[in-house]
């Protein structure tokens, strides 16, 4: 069953045509990796899925994006609800300058949870799901700014999970991390994929093969090829895909 469907999507920033005729489907409870050279539009693409691009003043789009059959760009769609359902983890860890606890509780609070027991319980669950609980359980009141980069990124994942999303978008979540932290995040992605639909942007091809079931290759704003990850890396159909994964450009 497909969770997200994208039909004839074109995205423009002012005069620049960033995404061209994108048609794709994202399967439920799997990990889909988006690969491609810098500037190919993969980040713009995932930011289209939770309407984060709405923040950019000259953003314009054509075509449709469906989440479980509902058009997310329908004027009646509530962006706030949408972003609650489709969580996002950013390239650079971006915890708020608040305590560890408050970072995770933030999404709950803004969505009206004020019961302390419930908050405590959800924060603990989320930190456990993000494999961070053991490292921070004794210092929940400390500032999140004191954590290492890898811990901060897992905190951001916990913060997203606490909102109970259906889809998690990850925009190069490991690009600012060291190899050990990267391994931890990748393990975490494996754990999360049974419950969440995950879309991860990466330009590390090994990472794509390690974590994802499906892979789409983006180039110059187009999807060149989408397939099972195993297939795309072993037997690419398109010459450009082959060039990219064998390191001939990018």
């Amino acid at each position: 069953m497909n969770r997200i469907e994208v039909k004839d999507l074109n995205v423009y920033f002012g005069d620049a045509h960033i995404l061209k005729d994108i048609n794709t489907e994202i399967a439920k409870n799997t990990v889909t990796a988006l690969i491609g050279p810098s500037g190919c539009g993969k980040s713009t693409f995932i930011r289209t899925l939770n309407r984060m691009n709405d923040l950019i003043p000259n953003f314009r789009h054509e075509g449709d994006v469906y989440l479980d059959g509902k058009d997310i760009y329908n004027p009646k769609m509530d962006v706030v609800d949408l972003r609650k359902k489709i969580g996002m983890v950013f390239q650079k860890p971006n915890p708020f300058p608040k305590s560890i606890f408050e970072n995770v509780a933030y999404g709950l609070r803004i969505h009206g949870v004020s019961d302390n027991d419930k908050l405590n319980q959800r924060v603990e669950e989320s930190l456990k799901s993000a494999a961070l609980w053991d490292e921070v359980k004794d210092k929940l009141d400390n500032s999140a700014m004191g954590l290492s980069g890898g811990q901060q990124q897992r905190l951001c994942i916990a913060r997203t999970i606490a909102n109970n999303p259906e889809v998690i978008l990850m925009d190069e979540p490991c690009s600012a991390l060291d190899p050990i932290s990267t391994t931890k995040i990748e393990d975490l992605i494996h754990k999360l994929k049974t419950e969440y639909t995950i879309i991860i942007v990466t330009h590390n091809m090994q990472q794509a093969t390690r974590v994802s079931k499906y892979t789409s290759f983006f180039l110059n704003g187009e999807i060149i090829e989408s397939n099972l990850t195993d297939k795309i890396f072993i037997d690419p159909k398109n010459k450009k895909t082959e060039d990219y994964i064998t390191g001939r450009f990018g």
Binding site: N50, M52, L55, P57, V80, D81, L82, R83, K84, K85, G87, M88, F90, K92, P93, N94, P95, F96, P97, Y106, G107, R109, I110, H111, S143, A144, M145, G146, L147, S148, G149, Q152, C156, R159, T160, N163, A176, L177, D178
Partner: protein, 292 residues
């Protein structure tokens, strides 16, 4: 040393002297104002000068306490009116307004800050004073009128500086909050405003400094009676007004006492400035934080 190096050397030293000119000026101001003001403290007594309730140059009474209270009251009342409006306006410009609206508001605020203070005072004198007189009784020359004018005068200072501080909050925080499904207002209230708070407080303090230091606009509407006001519709005299009104004809100890008033004013301003600097450095948010 060849010719090129020599001229480079001279240029550098010349520029250095220009750079320390501000310091030299401050030094001169402090020493000259102190030189003229200290006799008032010495001859009249420091505590009597600061805490004395009577200012009567004809009887050689030089207590500035009522003026200190006057300055503080006028300023606080002005801030009470100006701060909410300026902060709302700053948030509106930094976070909410579309860029077209921002393009209208920016020159509006620049122009507000460019209007001469005498013009503000004149406007207060011919427009506000009669309105206050008719609606609240008295002469219309009052602490409230002065505060109203000061509130408008400090708007641009607080708006501009708070807006800078709001804008310097990293974009990542905004994205993270919106990405969690927060509304724009929730993001502002919970994330952006707290992160910008040190800068906002600094802007308020600098606005206060401007209000305390304002002279002619206040003189024109405050009534200038030396008294501790009982109501906001009583006339008051501020420290600045005291100097400007009496300097023209002061001699002897009276002259020194007016410089003494200037010293008191100076100390208050330096105090505010030190607090502002302290807050800005102490509570600086570490942008991006942590270590990667």
């Amino acid at each position: 040393m060849d010719k090129n190096n020599l001229s480079e050397f001279i240029i550098e030293k010349g520029l250095f002297i220009m750079a320390i000119f501000s310091i030299i000026i401050i030094f001169l101001i402090i020493s000259f104002v102190l030189l003229e003001g200290l006799p008032a403290f010495e001859d009249y007594g420091f505590f009597q000068f600061i805490f004395g309730l009577t200012w009567a140059p004809n009887d050689s009474q030089y207590g500035v306490f009522a003026m200190i209270i006057g300055s503080i009251c006028v300023t606080l009342l002005a801030m009470l009116m100006a701060v909410p409006l300026s902060l709302l306006c700053a948030i509106f410009m930094a976070e909410v307004a579309p860029s077209k609206v921002r393009k209208i508001l920016k020159p509006v605020i620049e122009t507000l800050s460019g209007i001469p203070s005498v013009v503000y005072g004149f406007f207060g004198l011919i427009v506000l004073v009669p309105i206050i007189r008719e609606n609240f009784g008295g002469t219309g020359f009052s602490m409230f009128t002065a505060s109203l004018i000061l509130a408008v005068m400090v708007l641009p200072t607080i708006i501009t500086l708070s807006q800078d501080s709001l804008r310097s909050v990293p974009h990542e925080y905004r994205e993270a909050s919106l990405g969690l499904g927060a509304t724009n207002w929730q993001t502002i209230k919970n994330i952006i405003f707290p992160a910008a708070l040190p800068g906002i407080i600094t802007s308020i303090i600098l606005g206060m400094g401007r209000a305390i230091g304002e002279t002619l606009a206040v003189i024109m509407v405050a009534g200038n009676v030396v008294q501790i006001p009982n109501s906001i519709f009583d006339p008051v005299r501020t420290l600045t007004a005291n100097i400007a009104i009496e300097m023209g004809y002061a001699t002897g100890l009276h002259y020194n006492a007016l410089f003494g008033t200037g010293i008191v004013l100076f100390i208050i301003i330096i105090g505010l400035l030190v607090v502002a600097n302290y807050i800005q450095h102490k509570y600086k948010v570490d942008v991006g934080g942590g270590y990667l």
